[in-house]
Amino acid sequence: MSALPQRSPGSERALRLRRSLTDHLVTVLAVGSTILVLVPLILILGYLLYKGTSSLNLDFFTKIPAPVGESGGGMANSIVGSAVVLTLASLIGIPVGIGAGVYLSEYGRGRMLGNAIRFTADVVNGVPSIVVGISAYAVVVVKQGHFSAFAGGIALSIMMVPTITRTTEEMLATVPLAVREAAYGLGIPKWRTVLSVSLRTASPGIITGCMLAFARAAGETAPLLFTAFGNQFWSWDLRQPIAALPLQIYTYAVSPYDEWHRLAWAGALVLILLIMISVTLVRIFAGRGMLKGGN
């Protein structure tokens, strides 16, 4: 105490007041920023509900689009189409993304190949989605000679991989060395340690990364324009063009018909709700059987 300079009671009080003011100011700023972040989200959801609900009915979920001039119709084929393309994209993107992340974190540290992959992932993450679409078009569609659900899946998987790779790498880096050493100390080989200890310990974060990538891919329109292409009818053939919600929303939104505009709003609402539902379901199921640490 004696080391501190003596202060008069008056300056002591002023100092205390200043500290408490700063404290309040910072709290207000933090809360304000949080609200600023939440406002657009709530506005979007609210506006979608307001514009979209009126056009939602059973037909929307069971019928395919009505021909021009006829009223009614729905987006059943687009919902299924989106599910098909996204399943394909996830089947390709998640294993490749996690695999690359594992390589970066566990094997490629400080190596040329590792740095190259990390750099590429960051660049691809920043590439406009339309460019990804054109690339998939050039590589898949031109080779096959026609648009296809498969090409759409490839395009979306390219959108997913960088996010998943980088999250996997970062989440694996948070697994303490002590936990890995525990496994090595038991004579567990490295590949097994990576699979059953490191990945398992990091899995909540990795799942979040996969969900982020999935949600982003689900809403992408541009990569699908010249790959999945869209389809006004049912299609179950992966080699044929397939409908997708974002494509259908786009088609309807730029059309001159009021009813189609309303359907586009409903489609946007359904798209957001479906993404929210699937992300929530994955969280619930992934959380099962997972024991959490007490401290």
Binding site: A182, G185, G187, I188, V197, G293
Partner: protein, 252 residues
Amino acid sequence: MGVGIRVENLNAWYGPTHTLKDVSLHIPANRATALIGPSGCGKSTFVRCLNRMHETNPTARAEGTVMMGDLDIYKDAAPVEIRRRIGMVFQRPNPFPTMSIYDNVASGLKLNGFRKRRILDEIVERSLKQAALWEEVKDDLKKKSGASLSGGQQQRLCIARALAVDPEVLLMDEPASALDPVSTSKIEDLIFQLKSQYTIVIVTHNMQQAARVAENTGFFLTGKLVEFAPTHKIFTMPSDKRTEDYITGRFG
């Protein structure tokens, strides 16, 4: 049963730093051997060389001969094989955070491909009993995470996990330094019981602990083994002046 370890001219490096210099000693079977010395003296590096954990650090290197019984562990065997036979308990308890208590104990066997449920059940129970943890956890073996236990319980869980793979030697790197006195004395009691079946090497900063649990004690200083002798001799009439200075608290 435990097996003795003979070390000859062991040298170890981390990058350019020579951390272990020409260490030779004989660790007798079924005894507890304590290693003491100030921080950074190489005692942790030494035990990590015994089960080839040292080389998991990419910059690390070791040279010399380590014989476990008739097996030259640097020539005749793969690191994973050695680590199954020489178990290790670390300074900070490190249970697998996402695994249940049961899975933690069974991990060494399960992750090496062993899947027979009934035998696993038996081994888990036996190991937890050996580690004096069974009574405290038997009701939530599969319900609770290893990380939900207290620090002292976690460390006994780690001991049980090491014992489950049935090693011949148990290396303990300051196993009680992060624990309170009650947990510490439990660990020491354990070491006392375990040495009838295993060869134990324990690194410790606590000289009373060395005196309580170990038959032999080695004193390390700046990467060299200064003195290795029966514990009572080290603490009552050390032959080296540096040992005497250290144990009487004149430095370190």
